[in-house]
């Protein structure tokens, strides 16, 4: 931990490179490589119905700890995940990033995402606000929390078994 803290501009650049890399792994269904980005205390949260609440008392679309993330990737890697056979074709743009430090040294990122999914003759567009808590590691990061606030999280949805 003798590294010199990056300047704000360097930090923004590192965060941007990381988010673009993560987006690319998710779009290409590289599940094991995507899982390797996570910290063992990571939480992958896609809220349901509302944007913020106590997940101990309210159902979520996804509320994965690392163990369940690993199960998710195991399932998607298997031959029998019918809802991703064939896999969705995905393309996402991450933008409007806002980077800050919190008190314990994690990097907080807010960003917007537009994701286009094509599968079974249908094209779906998902808009979401992203919130990350990133643990600095060298000149990159591990994900401690990724929260995906879908604009339509209170509407009937179809198949969200790909990585958001």
């Amino acid at each position: 931990m003798s590294t010199v803290a990056p300047s704000p501009a360097e930090l923004r650049e590192q965060v941007n490179a990381f988010l673009v890399h993560e987006a690319d792994l998710a779009d290409r269904h590289r599940y094991d490589d995507w899982l390797a980005l996570w910290s063992p205390d990571g939480i992958y949260w896609v809220p349901c119905n509302e944007d913020d609440y106590d997940p101990a008392r309210h159902v979520s679309i996804i509320y994965d700890d690392y163990g369940r993330l690993e199960e998710r990737c195991f399932r998607l890697n298997s031959e029998a995940a019918h809802s991703q056979d064939p896999p969705s074709r995905l393309c996402r743009i991450i933008g409007n990033e806002h980077v800050s430090h919190d008190l314990v040294g994690d990097v907080r990122v807010r960003a917007n995402m537009i994701l286009v999914e094509v599968r079974s003759g249908e094209k779906n567009v998902y808009g979401a606000r992203l919130e990350y808590m990133l643990l600095p590691e060298g000149d990159s990061f591990k994900i401690r929390q990724k929260k995906v606030v879908l604009l339509d999280n209170d509407e009937p949805l179809g198949n969200l078994t790909f990585l958001l």
Binding site: V46, C48, N49, E50, P55, A56, R57, H58, V59, S60, I61, I62, Y63, R68, E71, R72, F74, R75, S78, A80, A81, H82, S83, S120, D154, E155, P156, L157, G158, N159, L160, T161, L164
Partner: protein, 428 residues
């Protein structure tokens, strides 16, 4: 396009013992008849009392294409109304849930109390003297009744009572609530909404598909429990059962391979009772309520293995209250409410939520694969050169008990035949 075109009656000719015609799932005129003869006639599940717990609480629901407001009036009574202003038909309730003393139409400001009466009409002087607000309150659904806090509505003025309609399925509503030491559940954790391009009747009870559609779930269960028995719950040699309860109600009985023990890993979708202070506290409360440890475990197992379809639109599965919303022959919405238990430590309900999300919802490890199959069914059924589907599994091997209940192996199509027989009766 179909065998039934031009016929006024004769839907029952589409169901034979052991097979069903694909028009039952694809024909839009049949769907319109289903709305009238099933969803606008029979008792359908509407809401749970916990969704309108306090005076003034309301929730917006639907019955077929009808938008319905369920409201607990300031007098404490639960009522259900068509969500339609008597003036020009605008919906008066905009939000899915909330608390309000009155509903005001946004169009011309007509205002109704949460008990239904019209209490305000702006600029009344231009109406004639015989214009009587007392005649034009929100229209109540013809019949509303509840069983153990589950509110059902019937749009038919007359007919069997709710308890007559529920028949034997009422026992499983009891069992569902008995994992709570206070026998109370609450739909306080929100709703997981999904849709699929397929017929509503695909959301049935099928014990045969599990090893194939849900192979990944079984693989994960085996990884988690270290026990290959998880793969053997739904085979022709498993002791588990399919049960026709009569009246279209049916269930899968998966309790015969389920064992409940504190701290013991399980293939149950709810997960084990944790060997923690909260887990032991829960078990102690259940023993206090049910008299012995054996009985407490039996109630917990009974609840998580209920797996019942209360015909036509309600299922209780594991921790889920699942409501089927038919919108066309080829489009359906499914609303899943994880039921929280009354009188238990928070950690127990939190685990129910995480267990719920593991299988259910649009990003779970189970339900999306069902959805995939339902959509492929709907596409496949368009090819109706040979229109009959085969539902003969266990037809002569299932046991018909003295009380009329039919019981088959878990992979038998007892449940599908139970529902289609009732469908045939309702559609006559």
């Amino acid at each position: 396009m179909t065998a039934v075109e031009g016929q006024d009656v004769g839907y029952s000719s589409l169901i034979e013992e052991g097979r069903v015609h694909s028009a039952v799932f694809t024909d839009e005129s049949i769907f319109e008849a289903e709305l009238e003869r099933i969803f606008y006639t029979y008792w359908v599940f509407l809401a749970h009392e916990s969704e309108v717990a306090e005076p003034g609480d309301y929730c917006r629901k639907s019955i077929g294409r009808h938008s319905i407001v369920v409201a607990r009036g300031t007098d404490g009574q639960v009522r259900a109304f068509f969500n339609r202003c008597r003036h020009r038909g605008t919906t008066v309730c905009r939000y899915e849930h909330g608390n309000a003393e009155f509903f005001r139409c946004p169009y011309h400001g007509w205002t109704y109390s949460n008990r239904g009466p019209l209490i305000g009409v702006p600029f009344p002087s231009r109406y004639d003297s015989d214009f009587d607000k007392g005649d034009i309150g929100l229209v109540p659904v013809p019949r509303l009744d509840h069983y153990r806090g589950f509110y059902f509505a019937s749009l038919a003025e007359d007919g069997p009572s709710l308890i007559e309609h529920l028949g034997r399925s009422a026992d499983y509503i009891d069992m569902f609530t008995q994992a709570s030491p206070t026998e109370k559940i609450e739909l306080s954790a929100g709703v997981s909404k999904s849709n699929f391009h397929g017929n509503w009747k695909f959301v049935g009870m099928d014990g045969y598909h599990v090893s194939f559609t849900h192979k990944t779930v079984q693989d994960l269960q085996v990884r988690r429990t270290g026990n290959a028995e998880s793969r053997k719950t739904n085979s022709d040699r498993a002791p588990n059962l399919t049960v026709d309860l009569g009246g279209g109600h049916c269930r899968l009985d998966l309790s015969l391979t389920d064992r409940v023990e504190i701290g013991k890993a399980t293939s149950s979708l709810i997960g084990e009772i944790p060997d923690t202070d909260a887990g032991r506290q829960y078990l102690a409360a259940m023993i206090e309520r049910w008299g012995s440890e054996a009985e407490a475990y039996a109630k917990i197992r009974g609840s998580r293995d209920v797996h019942v379809h209360v015909w036509p639109n309600l299922q209780l599965i594991g921790s889920e209250v699942r409501v089927i919303r038919p919108l066309s022959s080829g489009y359906t919405e499914v609303f899943g409410y994880p039921a929280m238990l009354g009188g238990v430590p928070d950690q127990i309900n939190e685990r129910r939520l995480r267990g719920y999300e593991w299988f259910n919802g649009v990003a779970g490890f189970g339900s999306p694969d069902d959805r995939e199959v339902f959509e492929r069914n709907q596409i496949g059924l368009q090819s109706d050169k040979e229109p009959w589907l085969i539902l003969s599994r266990g037809l002569t091997k299932a046991e018909v008990r003295d009380d009329g209940v039919v019981v088959g192996n878990i992979t038998d199509e007892v449940t599908q035949r139970a529902q289609l027989r009732q469908w045939s009766k309702a559609m006559r």
